[in-house]
């Protein structure tokens, strides 16, 4: 078990390093650099200014040396310094990570919970009108661009009904603490998490449905019926448990898509997460920050994957850990 984790972590680190190197070069292919951006924003750009900035950002060094410096930093868990924001990248990401984790985990939970629920129903009533209705319902959210759903949500729930706040992470200046703060954050969280979660719900609904139908055909379900077990028990204990395994693993693999989807959600809802940070960093060519976000996002995906894998392995006795 431990060695399994160690092995995965090691592999993960290698993947991360590869990502660092690839992205390092990728990002630098883009026209423009942070000095150009900042000079532009300052409304002044003489050569001294731009050169000053370049030197400050370490961009005057040859590319391989920059890469070496960066990778050396990453290996020692130092993600570098964002010169634009005048702060260490790790700190900037650290400030935003909780918000993103909250958003993505909630969305992940919503999409899985609803997806499994709907998928189970659809499978139970496969071929009936209910099945079609559920599938279409789930698909509608899937078929609408996330930003569009978000926009509609804001119009409906913030503007028209005034139930939910339309932006941010908490009520600014309210200085709430304890429970009322949690409620406040939850209110801000509902719409972004729903928007993101409902989009992914369709995938899980479909997967759960297919998986349930697949498992239902298996012999051991017949055995369970031959025992005289009630339908509910069969569904829950024999069908659902077996059907969920592939769904959960796939969900882990999909986490990358989920985290990517957060970029848009965070933009529309002004959610102070790292998706936004990434997009801003990209536009501003804040190389270190952008790379840092990529590393962290990828690490998050790897961790999601590892967790779902661990769950899978804990639940499925067929896969054994070496001791």
């Amino acid at each position: 078990m431990l060695s399994f984790i160690a092995q995965r972590v090691l592999k993960g680190v290698i993947v991360l390093l590869a990502i660092v190197v690839l992205n390092f070069f990728l990002i630098r292919l883009a026209p423009g650099d942070p000095a150009v951006v900042m000079a532009g924003e300052a409304g002044a750009s003489d050569q001294i200014f731009v050169n000053q900035l370049r030197e400050k950002f370490g961009l005057d060094k040859p590319l391989p040396e920059q890469l070496f410096i960066y990778v050396k930093g990453v290996v020692t868990l130092d993600l570098g310094f964002s010169f634009r924001q005048q702060a260490p990248v790790a700190k900037l990401i650290g400030e935003r990570l909780p918000a993103t984790l909250l958003l993505t985990l909630t969305a992940f939970a919503i999409s899985l919970a609803l997806g499994i629920l709907f998928g189970t129903f659809a499978a139970r009533f496969a071929g009936t009108f209910l099945d079609t209705a559920i599938t279409v319902f789930a698909l509608i959210f899937y078929a609408m661009p996330i930003f569009w759903v978000a926009l509609m949500g804001i119009l409906l729930f913030s503007v028209t009904m005034d139930w939910l706040p339309s932006f941010g992470y908490e009520t600014v200046g309210a200085n709430l603490t304890g429970f009322s703060h949690a409620v406040d954050v939850a209110k801000h969280l509902i719409m972004p998490a729903m928007t993101l979660g409902l989009f992914f719900m369709a995938t899980y609904t479909r997967m759960t449905r297919a998986s349930m139908l697949e498992v239902k055909r298996l012999d051991f379900v017949k055995t369970a019926r031959a025992k005289g077990l009630s339908d509910a028990v069969i569904q829950r204990r024999h069908v659902l448990r077996n059907a969920l395994l592939p769904v959960v693993t796939l969900a882990g693999v999909h986490s990358g898509t989920l985290i990517g989807g957060a970029v848009i959600t965070e933009t529309v809802f002004a959610w102070p997460g790292i998706g936004r940070l990434m997009y801003d960093a990209l536009l501003q060519r804040d190389y270190n920050l952008l790379l840092g976000v990529f590393v962290i996002c990828s690490a998050m995906v790897l961790i999601f994957n590892l967790i779902t894998d661990l769950v899978y392995r804990l639940v499925d006795p067929r896969i054994e850990f070496a001791s």
Binding site: A30, A126, M144, P145, W148, L155, G261
Partner: protein, 279 residues
């Protein structure tokens, strides 16, 4: 083949999906011939509501451009992006998956690490960066979408090939002296294709959405009108001119829905086991 169409036509979702797709494609193909108005031309006063003038049935946008013309030309770009990027993703993913599954061992290991690598980077984020770097254009958009969407194909194909490789008819081909290429092309891939086709139909849908999301972030091709562009452009004025976003939004919704329904139908048609046996 006949049987395939039969079962496809038996599933209601498949039929609805097919109708939608055929409609969308014919709009994309023939629409611009019937309505040769450039969607960029400012033809009327801005923010003209729909259904008021028959010349611009769906109203005009913020610059007084014909929303209807935009819808028709947009179909072309949206579908093209969806289809082409899926095609490219298949061209990349299928061979990688097939080789990994067929040759196994080190080849498999190397190719799968490579695939994993692409799956680990959050896909939309990668797409954004790629488009930004290559500078937005229809080519860079298609490339980026394809680049982030091939890994699932490779994985799926690999899985299928892995199981097909041990099939007796494949071994029969080996012992009758067929070459590896021949075996992959003739014996394995045709039998691995049904789930790939299902996946591909969904990928087209996802690609259309991805393109619209990129457009939303201002990373669309500025020389081509697409539904995603229209929604993105209209969203800032949604409060005063709902029609600019709603019509193309509905178009995306319906096409994506249609493609998903086709996927569903294909699934039923290509996996007769599931549909016929009941419980």
């Amino acid at each position: 083949m006949k049987q395939f169409w039969k079962s496809m036509l038996r599933s209601p979702s498949g039929v609805i999906g097919l109708i939608i797709l055929v409609l969308a494609i014919s709009v994309a193909l023939f629409g611009p011939m019937l309505f040769p108005n450039s969607p960029w031309r400012m033809v009327q006063r801005p923010f003209l509501p729909p259904f008021t003038l028959s010349a611009v049935p769906l109203g005009t946008d913020a610059l007084g451009r014909d929303v209807f013309a935009g819808m028709i030309f947009g179909a072309r770009v949206s579908l093209l992006v969806g289809l082409v990027s899926t095609l490219v993703a298949l061209i990349v993913g299928v061979p990688i998956g097939a080789m990994a599954g067929y040759f196994g061992g080190r080849v498999d290991d190397a190719l799968m690490r490579f695939t994993e690598f692409f799956q680990t980077i959050p896909s939309f984020a990668l797409a954004i960066v790629l488009v930004a770097i290559l500078q937005p254009s229809i080519y860079s958009i298609v490339t980026s979408i394809a680049l982030v969407s091939w890994p699932p194909v490779a994985r799926l194909v690999r899985g299928e090939v892995l199981s097909l490789r041990t099939r007796e008819y494949v071994q029969a081909a080996v012992v009758t002296g067929q070459s590896n290429t021949w075996i992959i092309m003739r014996e394995i891939l045709p039998n691995a294709l049904s789930p790939v086709i299902v996946l591909a139909s969904l990928m087209v849908a996802t690609a259309i959405l991805l393109e619209s999301s990129l457009s939303f972030l201002g990373l669309g091709d500025p020389n081509l009108i697409s539904w995603g562009y229209m929604v993105g452009a209209g969203r800032t004025v949604i409060r005063q001119a709902w029609w600019i976003t709603v019509f193309p939004g509905v178009a995306i919704l319906i096409s994506v829905l249609g493609l998903n329904l086709i996927g569903e139908g294909l699934n039923d048609a290509l996996n007769p086991r599931l549909s016929r046996e009941g419980r």
